[in-house]
Each structure stands twice: as C-alpha cells, then as structure tokens.
Amino acid sequence: MVAVKRFATQSYISFKALFGWLDPKSYIFIKIVSPVFQLLFFCLIARYCYNTTDLAPYVLGNALLLCASNCIFGLGTIFIIDKNYGTIKSIIAMPTSKFILFIQRGLPYAIDSLSSVVIGAIIGIVFFKIDLREINIGVLFIIVLVAMFAVSGFGLLIGVCSLLTTETNILLNLCNMALIALSGANFPVSSLPFGLKVISSCLPLSRSVKAINIMLDGGTINDIVGLLKGEVFIGLLTIIIGYIMLRVVSDVARKNGTLELC
C-alpha cells in the first residue's frame, strides 16, 4: 500500500513539475482550447471535402488524435525537461528501477489525455450535432482506453529518443503530424501508398480509429477485438523498446558522462 501511495505521489509530483502546471489558464488553453480547435479544424475540412453531414467518424477519430498530441508533447518532453533543468543526472544515478520510473511518469499523462479526448469529443458532438445513440458508449470508452495506452507507450519511446537529439521540437511535431496524417482519422488508410500503409500499421491509433469506424457502421465488440489486441501489442512493444533504450542510454551516459551533451 505504501509503495502504491509512493508511486502515485511521485507520478503526481513529476507531472506537476514537468508539465508547467503553473496556473489553470495555461492548462485550459494548452490542454483544452488548442486541441479542441484542432479537432474542429479537421472536422470542418472533412465536412467540406466529403460533403457529408455524418461527421461522427471524423469527430471521434480526431478526438482520439487529441490524446496523441497530449501524450507526444507531454511524455515526449519529460526527459528533455529534466535534461534542461539539470536533474537528469540524479534520475540516471538513482537506484530505483528505471521501469517503475518510466511507467510512473507516463501514467498521469495517459490519464490526463483522457480528459482531452472526452472534452474534445463532447464539443465536437455538440458543434456538429452528432447522434451517438446507435453506438455502444462502453465499447467506445474501451477503445479510447486502449488507444490511450498505445499512444502513451509511443510517447514514452519518443521521450527517450529525444535524449539522443538536440532537435526535439522537430521530432515531436513530426511524430504528431505523422499520427494526424496516417491514423486514418481524416482519410482512409486504404488510400495511402503502400509504404505509408506499412508505416501506418506500425503506428498507434490506426487500429483504434478503424475500430471506431466499425462500431459506427453497426459492428459489435467481436468485430474489433483483433484490432484492440493489435493496439495493445503496439503499446507494449513501444514501452519495451523505450525501456530498453532508456537502459542503454543511461548505461552509455554512466560510462561516458555525456548524457547532457547530446
């Protein structure tokens, strides 16, 4: 129990310290206003392009993308902020399990991103007058949770990668835009060229977006189990790769003392 409490406290403190949670205004603008406008922008393009009033797939797909922005820009910068503040040395040197540290830091961002998705979806539904009575909200919630898990793993992986480059901003923005372009939220993945289809299948969210579309078309949970399993697998894989990379990076840093130089 004490360990769980310590885990939760550390998660909260890390989130509070690294996110720049200085005042509610900043939080509301960055976590709600800006993402909601992103959602409305892409949905308006979809409405204009496809000349349709059924915007449910685009609203829900783009709402999922909001958790991507949240996790990529939140989790992608956690280690880099430590590096800039000069606290990365203490983190690398501490005896605590790096895996616990890894998960501990990712958890609050994952939970927080859920709020962006829910708020974004609600505003999108109200703005575009979308009727979701046909869809099973419970299943939709499961899809969001799975997507959130997959993107959090991806965010943690990017967070570790950001330790290896000085061009962190470019890396984060490229990953975010890659998800917007290749997840299938704004146009079908099937219309992509072969190479990009392969990249899309390796990225998180493409399966979740597809699952949402299947549910909107009247599918059942049995139709999407495979997709959700695939999404969980991507999440686990990115967490494992990220963790291994963090171990390698910290080992190299211990040997060469170069962690803050790259």
């Binding site: 205004k25 900043s26 603008f29 960055i30 206003v33 800006s34 406008f37 992103q38 409305l40 922008f41 308006l44 393009i45 979809a46 409405r47 204009y48 392009c49 496809y50 000349n51 000085t166 061009e167 962190t168 901003n169 470019i170 923005n173 490229l174 835009m177 890659a178 917007i180 372009a181 704004n186 146009f187 079908p188 219309s191 992509l192």
Partner: protein, 261 residues
C-alpha cells in the same frame, strides 16, 4: 533614408538567421508544408470537384505561413526578453518600431517559403495542373497578403509583448485562425457567429483575394471590395499596434521593468 534601409536590411537578415536556427521554425518552414500538402491532397482526392491549386497548394502553404508567424513574429519580443537582449534593443538610438518591423518582415518573407514548397510539391510530385485564372492578379494579391500579414503580426506582437501569457496565446492562435479565416474551408461553411468573427481578421479577406485570383469565379467589384477591406483592416491593426507600443513605452518608463514585464 539610406540608413533606415540598411537598418531594415540588416535586421531582416539577422532575423532570418535567428529564426532559421530554431527547430520549431524549421519545422514550420520545411516539414509542415509537406505534411499539410499531403493531408490536404489526400482529402482532396476523396472529394468531389474542387480547385486543386486553391485547396491544396494555397491552403497548405498559408497554414504553414500562419504557423511561422505564430511561432516567430508574435513571440519574438518575448524571446528577446527571455534572452536578456530586449533592453539592449530598446535602448539603442534607432527606432524600436523600425527594428520590430525588420524582424516581422524577415519572418514573413522567410514564412513565404512554405508556399513555394507547396507549389514545388504540387508541380513535381503530385503533378496536378496548377490552374491560376489570373496570374498577374495572383501576384498582386500575394503582395497584398505579405503586407496584411506584416500588419497583423505587428498587432499581435504588441499584444503579446504586453500580455503575460504570450507563450500560451501563441500556441492557441494557430488552429483558430486556420479555420476562422478560411485558409482551407471557405468561411461560408462556418456557423454564423464564427463567420461574423472572421470578418475582423485581415487573413480572411486576403484569402478571398487569393482565391478570387486563382478561381476567377467572383466579379472584379467583389475583388475590389475585398482589397479595400483588407487595406482598411490592416490600417486599423497598425493603429492598434501603434497605440499598444506607446502604452508599452509609457509602462516601461514608469516601472522600468522591460526585462521582467
């Protein structure tokens, strides 16, 4: 007069070098137009009849141009303050507004690169025909666009220098302007309240000018109407920014806190 031109030229060059050194600006300048061009093209392919040049090329180029303005011009003075150089710039005998103008001009000119990238992508890779109904009118509209973007940058720069929430506002102004000003989707598709709001922003009218010159569907009187409104709004922006810069000057002289706000 010559000295002023030299000053503006040097500030423009210095600003271009400084801006290009920043990763975020590099992203907006090089990668963003490519990705936006790709996204808009993929959506365009699924759509019914639309003008490719207006929708994909101009749309993606202007989206990136606005991002460049958002993440450079608007936050430049805040950045100078953070680096501790704002007091030095302010204290030089040269007009502060002239230096600010040079900075904005440098960013805006550099920010035109995404449009060029979009045109090159469309021409070389997508190989869709670039259909511009009136090329001379398009070039003229483009020049008006540069002036209008400089004026709106001036105003936002002044607002953000006075505000304590510059960083937050900078991040939040990107997407709203994208759709309120009709960079991709014409404002006719917006709800009435947003449509009314969009009339207050010069980029909305600039888009009308550029679209009219590309699509050639509207009359010349409509073009003139948009041109006059663009000019009038830009003048209002300049007046507002002049007032705000004067207010800033007064605040600085009273409190002596330029470096800390």
């Amino acid at each position: 007069m010559n000295n002023y031109l030299i000053l503006i030229r040097n500030t423009v060059l210095l600003q271009m070098k400084n801006s290009f050194a920043r990763p975020m600006f590099k992203f907006c300048l090089i990668f963003q137009p490519v990705i936006y061009c790709f996204i808009t093209y993929m959506m365009y392919k699924q759509s019914s009849s639309q003008n490719f040049t207006s929708f994909v090329v101009l749309g993606s180029g202007l989206l990136s141009l606005w991002s460049c303005i958002c993440f450079s011009s608007m936050g430049d003075l805040e950045r100078e303050r953070y680096m501790g150089t704002l007091e030095i710039i302010y204290g030089t005998p040269t007009s502060f507004k002239l230096i600010v103008f040079g900075k904005i001009l440098g960013n805006t000119l550099l920010g035109m690169t995404p449009l060029l990238i979009s045109f090159i992508l469309a021409f070389c890779f997508i190989q869709e025909p670039l259909d511009i109904k009136s090329p001379p009118l398009f070039v003229f509209s483009f020049l008006i666009a540069i002036i209008a973007f400089i004026c709106i940058s001036f105003m936002f720069m002044a607002v953000f220098t006075i505000s304590r929430s510059a960083g937050v506002l900078m991040n939040c102004l990107e997407y709203p302007i994208f759709f309120i000003c009709g960079f991709i989707v014409p404002i006719d598709y917006l709800p009435n309240i947003l449509k009314s709001m969009s009339m207050l922003f010069s980029p909305t009218w600039v888009m009308q000018l550029l679209r009219t010159s590309i699509e050639g569907e509207k009359s010349s009187s409509y073009y003139m109407e948009c041109l006059i409104i663009t000019c009038l709004i830009s003048i209002v922006y300049l007046l507002i920014s002049s007032f705000l810069f004067r207010k800033m000057d007064k605040m600085i002289r009273i409190s002596g806190s330029l470096g800390v706000k």
